[in-house]
Structures are given as structure tokens and as C-alpha cells.
């Protein structure tokens, strides 16, 4: 039996220990395993709002993995020259589905878009969230008031219900979801941290294969069942990534460096 509340830092040891014991383990040893199987042409949900909740290591693994012609669904379209921006720069993304591609440092996307080298489906943020949720919850389509009368509803079915106007929106589902959580266990149960929760819980429900990178893998039973945000049923692979420098021992440690590296996006 496992000691309760013992942190398991070495995910690959955990996986080996569980092998053949008739136990579920969704833990994979490395980010390369976590993104295995992404195919050319796939749609991929990528968590995060700005840099909070961005699955940085998984995006880097996707970059290394090589799949092309991707449709990326993510609130933003990359920052600086790393992560999604690097994926875009390599010409691997056919289409972005997002609410807010334009940011102070989104020069990679901006240039590709202006050059007509990447498609953009612009979706109001709440419709984006609700369409992802609908996919996960088996809803075929829904009437939303957001966007009615704007160019983003052009060509879409509208209806007045009880005196209010709505536009019909359809689910966004994907082959993969790449998300970032705070802690996870071998069943795939996840908890998040502060506003880094954002799109993770809904994206986890809407993909055929959901991959979560976590700061820490904990023993089964350590996460309080009342506080699990993403039940493991939605998660297929969990991979532990190196602890973020400003998060020591699972507690936030405010420090000058963090202000410089992670504050604005």
C-alpha cells in the first residue's frame, strides 16, 4: 500500500510501481508520451488565459512531436516567440479558434494573419467557453444571446425566445485537449490554482484524449473528493512537469523575479 500524503515526484517510478497490479494509472512519464498520437489535421484544445493555466510544457512537446495542419482552440493566439507562437511560426497551425488573438506580444500570429497564412475563427469568449462545455456535455447546439446583431453572428441561425434574441451556436470538440492543472492523481482527478483554472475544466470534457500537465502528482485519496474540480473520468493522461520556480512546495512564494517573468501577458 501507499503511504498517504506522500508526494510522488518521480512520475515514471510511480508508473512502474503500478504496472501489472490491476490499478488504473493515467500517469505518463514524460511530456512526449503525453502528446503521443496527435495526428496531422487534428483539432486541439489548449488551456490558459494569457499565461495563466497555459500548458507550456505540453505545447513544447507538441512542437517537438511534429503534427501539422492543426486547428488550435485557445483563448489567445500565443505570446512572444515561444509556445503557441512557436507552433504558429513553424507553420503547423492551419486555423486558430479564439476570442482574443491580438495581444501586446502576439506579433507571430499577427504577421501570419495579415499574410493570410493562418485562418481565424473569432468567437466571443463566453460562446467559446459554452461551445466547449456543450461538446463535453452532449448538447447538440444552444441559443446564446451573445453576438446577436454583430458580424460574429452573420449567417448564423437566430431566434427570438420570450422576447430576447439569440443565435444558435454549435459544440467545439477536439481530438486532444492539453491543459495545465495544479495537482493530479493517477485516476486523473485534478485541482487547479486560482485564475489558472480558466478553460481547463471545460476543455477536459470536450476532447477524445485529455492530457493534463500538473505541478504535482499526489497519491490517490489525497485530493479531497469535495474539492476535485475535474473528475478523472475526463482525463486520459497526466504528466508531472518541473515545479514552477515561484511555487515552492506547493505554496506561492512571492518574489521579485516572478514579477519580472510572469506578471504581464
Amino acid at each position: 500500500m501507499f503511504a498517504i500524503r506522500t508526494k510522488v515526484r518521480l512520475a515514471n517510478i510511480l508508473t512502474m510501481r503500478l504496472g501489472g497490479l490491476g490499478m488504473i494509472s493515467k500517469v505518463v512519464p514524460a511530456v512526449a508520451d503525453a502528446v503521443a498520437g496527435v495526428a496531422d489535421g487534428d483539432t486541439i484544445l489548449v488551456g490558459g488565459f494569457g499565461r495563466a493555466g497555459q500548458p507550456v510544457e505540453l505545447i513544447d512537446a507538441l512542437l517537438a512531436q511534429g503534427a501539422r495542419d492543426l486547428t488550435i482552440v485557445s483563448n489567445n493566439a500565443g505570446n512572444g516567440d515561444v509556445g503557441l507562437a512557436a507552433l504558429l511560426a513553424e507553420g503547423r497551425v492551419r486555423k486558430m479558434v479564439c476570442s482574443f488573438p491580438r495581444q501586446a506580444d502576439s506579433h507571430v500570429f499577427d504577421a501570419l494573419y495579415r499574410a493570410g497564412k493562418v485562418e481565424l475563427e473569432l468567437v466571443p469568449q463566453g460562446n467559446l467557453a459554452e461551445r466547449i462545455r456543450a461538446a463535453g456535455a452532449g448538447i447538440g447546439a444552444f441559443f446564446t444571446p451573445t453576438g446577436v446583431g454583430t458580424v460574429l453572428a452573420e449567417g448564423k441561425e437566430t431566434r427570438s425566445i420570450d422576447g430576447r434574441d439569440y443565435v444558435l451556436e454549435y459544440p467545439i470538440r477536439a481530438q486532444f485537449a492539453l491543459i495545465s492543472a495544479f495537482k493530479g492523481d493517477r485516476w486523473g482527478n485534478l485541482v487547479y490554482r486560482k485564475t489558472a483554472r480558466n478553460f481547463g475544466p471545460i476543455m477536459a470534457t470536450a476532447a477524445a484524449i485529455t492530457v493534463a500537465q500538473v505541478d504535482e502528482i499526489v497519491e490517490l485519496g489525497v485530493l479531497d473528493p469535495e474539492t476535485v474540480v475535474t473528475p478523472g473520468i475526463f482525463v486520459n493522461r497526466v504528466v508531472q512537469v518541473p515545479e514552477r520556480d515561484w511555487l515552492r512546495g506547493g505554496r506561492f512564494v512571492g518574489q521579485q523575479e516572478s514579477a519580472a517573468t510572469g506578471a504581464t501577458a
Binding site: N75, Q103, P124, A129, T146, T195, W246
Partner: protein, 215 residues
């Protein structure tokens, strides 16, 4: 001639109109200033679209937490009584009419309350809408905070928006550096005049027929 109040004065003016106990969403940019003027002896609960109620002030530089940001992706703090939730729940909160007030910026507001604040429609610009359309249709009251005139001197209050719309008939009230306007049944109603502005001077600036209402 002092025909305008400052942006800080305008933020303070808006803050005075937010009742205690309100749930409030402040849009990116100038509206964020309103939080600096909310009364310290009252509790007004700030919502941020990226999944939090009970948002507090900007942290000290040595207390910045990259996992704790607002809709503008700037670092914030959490107050006692805060809560976190995911994006579908956060926007359900707005779309479902649970947020009492949101304050948004504007390119244009029309006489019937249409809002244009997300795109100038300029060719080559990269469009980005974020949560603006959800806020515009969702909050019980949509306040706009804006200069009355654009940089080119044209009025942001218009008969009909020429820029792409954010929402239709959604704006309740417009706070400008010249005056406060309610969106009435038949056009803008002046609620309050700042400095030496008059109905006539505002009509001249906007080219609109304005009425004066009891505030």
C-alpha cells in the same frame, strides 16, 4: 474653458453610482480605474471574466502571483470571501444576468444603446473580441466610460454606430468627460453636466438632439 473632467474624476464619478453590495465587472483599460475609487468602507464585489469573484487590488511587486490575474492579464489579489470558477461558469454568471454592473469602454454608442467597442473594422487589423460581447448582453446595467470625443474630434455618441457592433440596445448609461447620459426611449438623456458644458454645447459637439432628464 474647463469643459472636461479628468479620467480619474470620471472614474470616481462612476464609482459613486455603484451601490454597496453590487457585483461589478470592470472592462479592460480605463474602466479598471473605477476600482481605485470604490468606497473603502463599503463592500463591492468585483468579478473578473477569467474566473473569480472577490478580486482585490494590484499586489505589491514582490507578491505577484502569475496564476492570479484579471481580464487584462494584470496581476491582482484575492479578498476574503473570494471564489474561483471555470470559464463556462464565469460567462454563465454574466450571460445569466447575475452581474449587476459592468463598465466598458467604447468606440461608439448609439442613441438606442448599441455599443461598438471591439473593432474599428480597419483593414489589416487583427480582430479580437474577448469577453466584450458577453458583458454587453449579460450585465444588468451596462455603463460605458469614455471620452465624449475621439482623438479626431468626432463624437463617440452617434445616431447609429458605423463601427462593428459589440451588442445591440445594451448600454444603460454613458459616462463621458463632458457629461453623463442615460440611454432613453428616444435618444440620449443628459443626466449630469460636468464643468461648463450645457445641453446646447453638447448638442453642438455630438450633432445629436439631447434632452435633459431628472437625475
Amino acid at each position: 474653458m474647463t469643459s472636461r473632467i479628468s479620467r480619474d474624476e470620471l472614474a470616481a464619478r462612476i464609482a459613486r453610482d455603484i451601490p454597496e453590495g453590487s457585483y461589478v465587472n470592470l472592462g479592460i483599460g480605463a474602466p479598471t480605474l473605477v476600482s481605485n475609487f470604490l468606497p473603502r468602507d463599503q463592500e463591492i464585489i468585483l468579478h473578473t471574466e477569467n474566473g473569480m469573484l472577490g478580486m482585490g487590488e494590484e499586489p505589491a511587486p514582490d507578491q505577484v502571483d502569475p496564476d492570479l490575474i484579471n481580464a487584462g492579464k494584470l496581476p491582482v489579489t484575492e479578498l476574503p470571501g473570494a471564489s474561483y470558477f471555470h470559464h463556462a461558469d464565469s460567462f454563465g454568471m454574466m450571460r445569466g444576468g447575475h452581474v449587476d454592473v459592468c463598465v466598458l469602454g467604447a468606440f461608439q454608442v448609439s442613441e438606442r444603446g448599441d455599443l461598438a467597442n471591439w473593432s474599428t473594422g480597419a483593414p489589416g487589423s487583427v480582430p479580437a473580441v474577448g469577453g466584450a460581447m458577453d458583458l454587453a448582453v449579460g450585465a444588468k446595467q451596462v455603463f460605458v466610460m469614455t471620452d465624449l470625443l475621439g482623438k479626431d474630434g468626432t463624437s463617440k455618441l452617434v445616431a447609429a454606430c458605423s463601427y462593428p457592433l459589440t451588442g445591440v440596445r445594451c448600454v444603460t448609461r454613458v459616462y463621458t468627460d463632458h457629461a453623463v447620459f442615460d440611454v432613453g426611449e428616444s435618444g440620449f438623456v443628459i443626466r449630469e453636466l460636468f464643468a461648463d458644458n450645457t445641453r446646447e454645447s453638447l448638442q453642438a459637439l455630438t450633432g445629436l438632439s439631447l434632452t435633459e432628464g431628472a437625475s
